[in-house]
């Protein structure tokens, strides 16, 4: 089921064009207000675009030229939201059977399909319970089954793990990986673990526009936007390819291997754990000055952030260096810890 989408919503400053290949899972990443929900809403038919066109397989979902608009119930697009939104007056089984029954499948057959999908999401024992009797994680499983039971051509997931306990999310993620295999899926998420686990490709939205996209690993290991870098917890330096590596805007040069042409627009990524901090200028080839903005405890390390770089240090070292916001320090890292790529 090929999905091609292109739409603009002026009120929300939204203008996006993308496509999804059959059986592909695409993760949509982006900060709040970036337009992720707008994208899902337009695709599901719950929102109207000012202009644009979307086609799913051979159905035109909407087309502003010609004014066609397929209502949500005829699109074959299922939407799973953060909240399970199981129909409170129906049992779990009846909830899952809802899609098939709406398509005209007789009750017995629909229930059989429902049981199949409940088994797939490992929730068959919950079949006769009412939604009010289910925990968050259980309800979300049933909601996944319900969305799949309607046999959608395109499945939309809107931050499915966001409202769940952290302890419950991994099991759900594993289950999703299994049931989504081979399906065409758009999944909106904040969690890069979701992207890594479930998505073939990643699209990064910011301010209503696509700022980055590509295969998951590539985008998340070689970010080109500050937001993606933040998500992937990588330092991002942008500049121009130079002889040794990359020349930054302020003139300083970073050494790093790359097969880019000199002069091409480039970006360099460094993991915070590979960055060292010192008060005196170090001898390393890659060294940059910076002023400490804040110190953020992260587990057994402290992330020292400046405006350009962040470094993860042991707390003891932070204490030894007497680091505090406003301190002027040197950041250093090895050439082997840098990758320079097209920016």
């Amino acid at each position: 089921m090929t999905f091609s989408f292109s739409a603009a919503v002026a009120e929300r400053g939204f203008e996006v064009a993308l496509s999804v290949a059959p059986g592909e899972t695409v993760a949509i990443l982006g900060p709040n207000g970036a337009g992720k929900s707008t994208l899902l809403g337009l695709t599901a038919g719950l929102l109207r675009a000012d202009s644009g066109r979307a086609v799913l397989d051979d159905t035109v979902l909407f087309d502003s030229v010609g004014g066609s608009f397929t209502p949500p119930h005829r699109r074959g697009v299922s939407l799973l939201a953060q909240e399970p939104l199981l129909f409170p007056h129906l049992s779990a089984l009846e909830n899952v059977a809802f899609g098939p029954r709406s398509a005209g499948v007789p009750r017995a057959a629909a229930r059989a399909t429902a049981r199949h999908w409940l088994a797939e999401v490992e929730a068959l024992d919950l079949a006769d319970r009412r939604p009010a009797q289910l925990s968050g994680g259980q309800a979300q499983r049933v909601a996944v089954a319900r969305a799949l039971a309607s046999d959608p051509k395109l499945l939309l997931l809107d931050e499915p793990m966001a409202a769940l306990d952290v302890s419950v999310a991994p099991a759900l993620r594993r289950m999703l990986r299994r049931v989504l295999a081979g399906r065409t899926v758009l999944i909106v998420t904040h969690d890069i673990l979701d992207a890594f686990t479930l998505a073939d490709r990643v699209v990064v939205l910011d301010g209503g526009r696509i700022v980055d996209q590509g295969p998951t690993r590539e985008v998340l290991e070689r970010p080109r936007s500050a937001f993606t870098a933040g998500l992937a917890a990588l330092n991002l330096l942008v500049g121009v390819r130079s002889q040794r590596g990359i020349r930054l805007a302020d003139g300083s040069e970073i050494s790093g291997a790359s097969d880019l042409v000199v002069g091409a627009s480039a970006a360099a990524a460094v993991r915070p754990s590979a960055v060292r901090v010192s008060l005196d200028e170090p001898a390393a080839a890659n060294r940059l000055r910076g002023e400490v903005l804040d110190l953020e405890p992260r587990g057994d390390l402290v992330r020292v952030r400046s405006d350009r770089l962040a470094a993860d240090l042991a707390p003891a070292l932070v204490a030894d260096l007497d680091l505090a916001p406003g301190a002027a320090v040197w950041f250093a890292f090895d050439e082997s810890d840098v990758s320079v790529y097209a920016g």
Binding site: G76, L79, P88, F98
Partner: protein, 269 residues
């Protein structure tokens, strides 16, 4: 005053004022009960005229309630779920019978459905005569009871929101299926309590019926009209029938309260 669960935060003087308010409603009822001629009670309420009035009241109120549901549900849906110009005005007009004196409603109905009325006159040409008929009683009762249903239902529809309907649509349910399997079940408590309130209002309707439908035993003389007539000759009958009406009203209101409980929706909204 023990709170229902946890801390209620109701000052004691508020409870005192509430008691006064309750007494204000209960004392007149108690005073009426003390005037009932218990010895004659059964013969009075089972007389031919009384029974005819009670049966007529029940029949017409039920018919009026059905009409309220048939028209009130779509009205509530449109008012709660769509947005169009003049919607606020339309809502005020639709809820007008709530504040209008019923007699005014009766006069308006007369000018519409009466012999020389806007719709009544053309209907007369077809041989359809509404005034002085049981139909007129049902119309009068529907007119005053409709806002109760619309108000009750519209509030519930707004509270429930449209999220579940959106999910239903994405699962492939046509709008009519969504209405039948999602919307209406979700607001069923409000629909039931609204219907019961409409029934109670229709049962007690007097002013509009008197003005518009007339008063004839078995055809248009509902229980309130019978009470109004009986107080001229037999105050005992009037009080006895009034007690019957009060009892029916109490039963009806307690059913409405029970039906309106939203226990099964708890946790879902």
């Amino acid at each position: 005053m023990r709170p229902a669960d946890g801390y209620a935060g109701v000052p004691r003087w508020v409870a005192a004022v509430a008691v006064v308010g309750a007494l204000f409603v209960l004392l007149p009822l108690a005073a009426m009960v003390t005037r009932v001629n218990w010895g004659q009670f059964v013969p009075l309420v089972t007389s031919e005229a009384s029974v005819a009035a009670l049966l007529l009241s029940l029949r017409t109120s039920l018919a009026a309630t059905v009409l309220c549901i048939v028209f009130g549900v779509p009205m509530a849906l449109v008012l709660a779920r769509s947005a169009f110009r003049g919607q606020k005005i339309l809502r005020s007009l639709v809820l007008l019978p709530l504040v209008l004196p019923p007699v005014v409603g009766g006069i308006a109905l007369l000018y519409t459905f009466g012999r020389r009325g806007l719709i009544g006159q053309p209907l007369e040409a077809f041989g359809v005569s509404i005034a002085f008929s049981t139909t007129a009683v049902v119309l009068a009762q529907t007119f005053v009871a409709l806002p109760f249903l619309v108000l009750s239902l519209e509030g519930a529809l707004r509270t429930v929101g449209t999220r579940y309907e959106a999910v239903g649509a994405t699962l492939g349910a046509r709008p009519t299926t969504v209405l039948r399997r999602i919307t209406l079940p979700l607001v069923l408590p409000a629909l039931v309590s609204g219907s019961v309130l409409s029934f109670a209002r229709a049962l007690g309707e007097f002013g509009a019926t008197l003005t518009f439908a007339g008063s004839l035993q078995g055809t248009t003389r509902t229980l309130p009209l019978e009470i109004y007539l009986q107080r001229e000759t037999s105050p005992d009958t009037a009080v006895a029938l009034s007690l019957v009406l009060v009892v029916v009203a109490v039963v009806v209101v307690s059913i409405a309260h029970q039906a309106g409980s939203t226990k099964y929706l708890r946790g879902a909204l």
